[in-house]
Symmetry: C2
Amino acid sequence: MTIAISLPNPEKLIWWTDHLGALLPEHEVLAAADITRPKEVTYAVVWQPPAGLLSSYPNLRATISIGAGIDHVAADPDYPAAIPVVKTIGPDMTQRMCEYVALHVLRLHRHLPDLQDAQRRGAWHQIVTPTAPNRKVGVLGQGHLGRHAALTLRGLGFDVAGWSRSGAAPDGIDGYDGGALDAFLARNDIFVCLLPLTPDTRGILCADAFAKMPKGASIINAARGAHLVEDDLLAALETGQIAQATLDVFNTEPLPEAHAFWSHPNVLITPHVASLIDPVSGGEVIAANIRTLDAGEVPDALTHVGRGY
Amino acid sequence: MTIAISLPNPEKLIWWTDHLGALLPEHEVLAAADITRPKEVTYAVVWQPPAGLLSSYPNLRATISIGAGIDHVAADPDYPAAIPVVKTIGPDMTQRMCEYVALHVLRLHRHLPDLQDAQRRGAWHQIVTPTAPNRKVGVLGQGHLGRHAALTLRGLGFDVAGWSRSGAAPDGIDGYDGGALDAFLARNDIFVCLLPLTPDTRGILCADAFAKMPKGASIINAARGAHLVEDDLLAALETGQIAQATLDVFNTEPLPEAHAFWSHPNVLITPHVASLIDPVSGGEVIAANIRTLDAGEVPDALTHVGRGY
């Protein structure tokens, strides 16, 4: 009954191994590199595991993703598709994401980039913006984080729509289903991407989508870098089709030094900090999910790579 | 039964005179400069009226302030103190102020100034901030706008306290009364000033107050410029006692070109745009209050200059 831990960052690897070892004394918790008997591994707790690692555990019962996404597990072509993946969504992650989305939607809604530009020029330039009920905001993705972000925006008064495969959305949020993407894109002034990364959503923020948005729309991407076609965004910023972009995630992280986003006046970069997992409360969620699995039950956050999210 | 209109901006004067004339056809509505029979003036609708104007109307029944503050009326030493003043708070003003407060508290809470500074340097620098429930925010002033702003912050998850003369605060907001100012100043990381401007609150944001705040506190002033001692703020920013200041109001507006705030790296200037009155809905509120007065009743927003707010 061994739990294998795999994370790319060596310090975080040690931290998580010690932390889960303390939380789950009934299990042997080891860094993947220290495992000599792979047959004894029943659970793997991972972030961006190397390809082939998880298929090397013949008795693996479940993989636990240290985060809300499972794309980093599904990216392994050798991943044994029958083995479930459990997502980890701590209460802190939801809170942090809602804060991030509220801040950055309000920043664009109230034209703060223009006000800060005026300050740099020493110009007293009043800008009157509509009120939030007159501002349409679209949230791509209505999973746990997308729903909560949409409700936070609604609480601030915004006119909010959510887009998801099923079109299901909480009360007060205007739901658009998979087939209604064009109408959803035409509806909103500000877009927030909180989609899972799947073959269907990869590159969804592209020239074609930007062209279907109202001229001068803005985008916020707090999901995965691969949702966005970065060159298409640069072109759309050039024409003014997209006014502003707020990006927390990138195709390559850290964002390479030479990337055009760094110095673009209409791009705000945040270095993948929208929603960090708090390791203390996140560890408790993971330990509770492992105990649920041990008891032969199914954690709420259990899914499969074939579903994609 | 004449209504006199007085605003310093000539375009706004014409707009308000026409707008209220259309809304109140039973009254004669005239710009103050066009009034030849001051004895017939029963109401004055004003923003920053010239000293002596209102005392020149012997039959004035009430002054209507085009805004939430009455300090611009009380500033006239000749103002006949027995004549009530009616404040104007439109629903849009509350919405706009809540948006402004949410945006700027979140911006400081999430260290956006530091993240933007890192972007300018091309640095991928992750900053982990506490979650909102672990951030203490204090709202100075618990009038209509202060209460709503506090509740908006509470809705985002912040740990919010309100300071006011009586100490009354809505459910979920930690109320501090006038005598508990020192404890209130020591409690919070981020302060939002939404006080009325009175002799008691003039200069309240001064060196003495800053020294009682935790080191590295931040302030947001969306009330009146005279609440803040500007030189004391510059000194407190210099020592780091105050980390960041977000200022919407100033002793002199527009802020003079040579002012040190313009180029200060830790001062964000917004040009008195936190809460603009929407003239269409604001005009409707004013017309309704005048009809209430005509009916011999007392509008909720009626006060006196002696009270100060």
